[in-house]
Symmetry: C2
Subunit: 327 residues, 2 copies
Amino acid sequence: MTQPSIDEVARVAGVHKSTVSRALSRPEVVREETREHILRVAESLGYEINPLAAALRRKSSNLVPLIVPDITNPFFGELASTMTAAAEEHGYRLVLCVTDGADERTGAYLESMQNLYAPFGIIAPSTRIDPEALHRFPLGKRVVVVDKFADGSGVPTVTMDNARGIELAFEHLRGLGHRSIAYVSGISGTYTAAERRAAYLALAEQPLLLGEGTQPGTGKRAAEEFLALAERPTAIVAGNDMVAFGVIAELGSRGVGVPGDVSVVGFDGLALGERYNPGLTTVQQPINEMGRVAIALARNLVDNGEVGHVVLEPSMTVRGSTARVPG
Amino acid sequence: MTQPSIDEVARVAGVHKSTVSRALSRPEVVREETREHILRVAESLGYEINPLAAALRRKSSNLVPLIVPDITNPFFGELASTMTAAAEEHGYRLVLCVTDGADERTGAYLESMQNLYAPFGIIAPSTRIDPEALHRFPLGKRVVVVDKFADGSGVPTVTMDNARGIELAFEHLRGLGHRSIAYVSGISGTYTAAERRAAYLALAEQPLLLGEGTQPGTGKRAAEEFLALAERPTAIVAGNDMVAFGVIAELGSRGVGVPGDVSVVGFDGLALGERYNPGLTTVQQPINEMGRVAIALARNLVDNGEVGHVVLEPSMTVRGSTARVPG
DNA sequence: CTGAAAGCGCTTACAG
DNA sequence: CTGAAAGCGCTTACAG
């Protein structure tokens, strides 16, 4: 009842194991008749290739690291979910690597995954990653990053058009009559976060940054600053959904209602936003597509040496946290 | 600059590679002097064992599947987070397997991970798992399940004392003057979910189940049923935090305030509850401990054949979603 | 198009 | 306590 090996298949099929191997991995080099016979035998024996042995020989496995700062954060959860599906479609298995926000650990992960002959890796960083530092690791030359880099870094990336996302948020808010719009970015060293903040700064008539530079406690601080204002903005854009949640919760605990007293729009489009109170209006990232694209970029890098940069389009998901400005 | 192999280490150290292997994996059988010399050489060469080769030879790898229904759900995210940490402490790497709520896929995962010579697996199910079905897979005999089984099933489990958790929720609510307490379980076929529901039924003076049997849309349905009531309960206990979120959101969208109009307590203790609006009062599962225990149970199963069942203690995390009953 | 051989990097009886 | 050999289950030049 134990897995038959390739030798077993060869014996039963009456061919050499090298032929079995070819029939499985490079079918076109084997005579059709032979191939079909072998495949039938393999099937009947319930043969499955031993990926460990294959990887050892090939020096390339099907194990790919997914390096995230915090799998507890639903954004990375959604990313991991779509990545897993996309990876499995191509026969890869995702190995979960969590840095806990300490991107330095990325190196150790790359090293240990290199020992597992990972064909490539996926990194969703929490800070700006230095391409040079990445390239010090063999596997670091075969990663795709879910963030942006300066061009010519040699690292493939998937991102969304963040400036456009902020623009969508403004269009939505302005359509509801809002003119005075503040921004809460929370910390996050990624280019993505910087891009969103910069886009806000460029678009706002009178930019107002709330809760700047506070990490845990962004919501609390932003709410305090908001309350201290002589003239309060009528709307707040958050740099991501998690900080939007934090801000709304803190505002709520201080008696400020959303969207009654102030409208809030998030950024990311987490499914969770639908269960929030109120439902979160948010700039939607196509997270599912990001997973698919990341895997495709990685394959294209490994197979053809192409360093691709894909920028996806955002859309708006309107729920209950935004309302027409009173008056 | 490529990883040196064990042969390289042996050559430099002037010993046979079998001795190097022993110095590394069974140090006590090697003469101290020899061992230290080998270790020094290995260190200086930057030697790291090739886990693939070792696994192939030993027929046991360091790759352990974490099988979850939905990594998008923060509960499984938190579980995955602690599991990863606990696993890495012992040199294991977690392979992410998501069934998408289709527990049938568990079998396929067990099979493919068996081919990777996984030493054991961890399963967080979404339905009652049949131990018999599990045992049809070789790896199915070496899993620990994060749910409960009938005793004697031969499957190690970690859970929390769910009845005690419901009791804590009642104590808290009754302490606030609540007498009329409803329950929303949402679907979920696990023993854990059933236990919570049963505990509620046992404890409530006049049991009232809301939103029974609806899966997506539990919150909506529960809110509708709540609103249709002539005499509304003053408090609602939810079978888990995610449904608590759903209920509060739906209630909120229909103008029913929490805790103003009704108190809500969740179950699980997700970190996210702190960012909810209002902050969620909830029965706290020691999720971190569950990860650690799961790994420990697995090792104990594999090393000593012991089938352990650990039941952890809940606690209460009180936040803003519960208040004294008016009057 | 197929076979025979070598070898990926380890571990583990088996001798000595 | 250490060495030499065999072998885990594959893949891939190399012949033919």
